[in-house]
């Protein structure tokens, strides 16, 4: 290697390093300034949970309210990634920036002021408030619990506002599966829904490759599996039925359909929605369900509603929304 060519090569490499480093730095600086506005609190004018349909507005990530069909949408709630409200309390899950992923679970009162804040690991996934507003539950996705580092596992917490008692992960709840006490390292819970007595609850448990609908008892601190292949349950206001998503296909692009299970007869029927729904449905009343679907026309997601008895047709309820919750 003769010296001039070696020097030339070095000069070329140094130039390239400078160019690439400059380009990278420029991109990072650009991304830094372009980023979305920081998480916002609710505007003062928005500060009360008036009757209406509450949801997350996908345009700005803030909570909005729609008073009724045809009425204008009022935006001005807090920024949340997942939201639910009932009984005068609201639960707002917010992903915190940075790595590893962490989620802030904000408990808000009727005026949407912060009552309590819990920070948990993971990405926001499900949020539920019991009808009385006293018991709350949330689920986050976490990475790294599984033997396959790329796989996700879930962590579900339950907070009792009456006592202030917080269970950060309900994974250790004694679980009965097929009549026997079940122990395994791969037990994952998600999507809790509460009964009106603030004690009974339903949730999904996944273990050994199958998902089960479980019925839990908060006071007795126990849970038993009711049936297989039922995820993200949502108990009807009358407490008689559970809406859930059922895995009907191995196609990862469209695995689920919405079903409703009658708890008295344990019979299930599919709903009219033909698309794959990956959401914990919300009951607008005893006859109607609302849920999020991937949005049309470039929107991140839309809220649809469909009759709970399997008849009728789905209707677009809120374009550009997710996390529906009805307040009467």
């Amino acid at each position: 290697m003769n010296p001039p060519s070696r020097r030339l090569r070095l000069a070329l490499v140094v130039t390239a390093v400078l160019l690439l480093a400059g380009g990278s730095l420029g991109y990072v600086l650009h991304a830094r300034h372009r980023e979305r506005p920081p998480a916002q609190q609710a505007d003062a004018s928005f500060g009360a949970l008036e009757p209406g349909l509450y949801f997350r507005d996908t345009a700005g990530g803030r909570i909005a309210r729609q008073g009724g069909p045809g009425l204008p949408r009022v935006t001005g709630g807090p920024s949340c990634d997942r939201f639910h409200t009932a009984g005068g309390h609201a639960l707002c899950l917010r992903k915190l920036p940075g790595v590893p992923a962490r989620t802030e679970a904000l408990v808000l009162d009727r005026r949407l002021r912060e009552v309590r804040k819990v920070t948990v690991p993971g990405i926001p996934n499900r949020a539920r408030v019991s009808a009385s507003g006293q018991i709350l539950s949330w689920t986050t996705f976490t990475t790294g619990d599984s033997y396959n580092t790329a796989a996700f596992s879930t962590r579900t917490a339950i907070l009792d506002l009456r006592t202030g008692y917080l269970v950060k992960s309900i994974e250790q709840i004694p679980l009965t599966l097929d009549g026997a006490r079940h122990h395994d390292s791969d037990v994952n819970y998600w999507g809790v829904t509460f009964a009106a007595d603030d004690n009974r609850f339903y949730a999904t448990v996944s273990t050994r490759g199958a998902t089960h609908l479980v019925e839990g008892d908060l006071r007795a601190w126990s849970a038993k599996a009711l049936r297989e292949n039922a995820e993200c349950p949502s108990l009807s206001p009358d407490g008689a039925r559970v809406a859930f998503k059922k895995k009907v296909s191995d196609d990862p692009r469209a695995p689920w359909r919405l079903y409703v299970l009658d708890l008295a007869t344990m019979r299930e029927h599919p709903l009219a929605e033909p698309h794959s729904v990956d959401d914990q449905a919300a009951w607008l009343d005893d006859a109607t369900l609302a849920y999020a679907l991937p949005g049309q026309d470039g929107r991140a997601s839309d809220i649809w509603s469909t009759p709970a008895d399997g008849t009728g047709e789905p209707a677009l309820l809120v374009p550009g929304g997710s996390s529906p919750a009805d307040v009467d």
């Binding site: 690439l20 380009g23 991304a31 372009r34 992903k95 940075g98 590893p100 580092t149 991140a300």
Partner: protein, 420 residues
Amino acid sequence: MYLAANGRPDAPPRPPGVRRRVPAAVLALGTVSLVTDISSEMVTAVLPLYLVLGLGLTPLQFGFLDGMFNGATALVRLLGGRLADRGGHHKRVAGAGYLLSALSRLGLLLAGGATAGIAAALAADRLGKGVRTAPRDALISLSGPPESLGRSFGVHRAMDTTGALLGPLAAFAVLWATADAYDAVFAVSFSIGLLGVLLLVAYVPAAPGPAAPGPAPAPAPPPRRPVLRDPVFRRVLYASALLGATTIGDAFLYLLLLRELDLPPALFTLLPLGAAAVYLLLAVPAGRLADRTGRRTAFLLGHCALLGAYALLLAPVRVPTVVGVLALLGIFYAATDGVLMALAAPALPAAGRAGGLAVLQTGQALARLLGAAGFGAAWTLWGQRPALWAAALALAGALAAASRILPAAPAAPAAPQEVP
């Protein structure tokens, strides 16, 4: 060119103990790997978060995307080896692989939210990774004297691991600086990947081998099915596949550590760093030791370290167990990963080396996949402790068999005897 890099057999023997220079080509390839690994590990570290959080894919969909291409890489690797052997285009084939992986970051950046675009970008990355590995290892093995191959691979693997450790740090730094702008991570990763290609083009010699620079002799066509015919290479292949099939996979070891000792799950992401650090520290010394005492011994002892890790897990004693298992795992990798290449390379003709190494790597990878799957099944059927006992017994058996299968001196014809 440095004399020492050529390993000329007529060079005067150096007194033992004197530190010899690592071939410049190996250092260059090590630097390329270091830079490239920073680039690729940056993406690996943030991809799950990006797909699920940024794009709203369900974990199920993510798992599908992630697993989709894993099987194909084995075949691509064989193809890369074959291509490199044909006409001795190691540098060109490896460079194409590095370039493809670098460009795949650009694909991620441009794909936006389109799942098909992301799938294509991931496929391109895997394709690049599969194509470049065998020619690169062949280049390393052809760049130095056969008697110091262990050290050469040790140096390369140490640099490679350094990059793998730095990658996630760089990615997290970018995420912190930009409040979760994943596209910035891809942009930076692309720049770093491109730099890796550039370094390869500028500093890795095109025609490797002990021959002096100058017009290279017309490369011999790769012999027909040469590799599997060679009895010495075949033995190395069988032994490594047998041992690979009794390897349960690091992730299982980390999981066992967490479960047995009831450690916080957040540690899961840190445990691999511990093992990688030990690997990084020991890769060069282990390679040197392998050169001196025999690579066969080092390879077997490395697996003994893995057996020791299993044994430690069967008799848990809190914190020392964690440290011990991580250290043993690091030793295992230091004494086997590069050493296996150094063990097999001299048995392969230069013209069929990339292809041969590809066969060996693919065989080992498939065997390990089988081993991990088998262990997973055993865990589900019998529970973790019986499964671990079974794994330990299987590994012990495989070690006994491998010590009979492995040839005593695979490099015998080429290596000059330094024993007085």
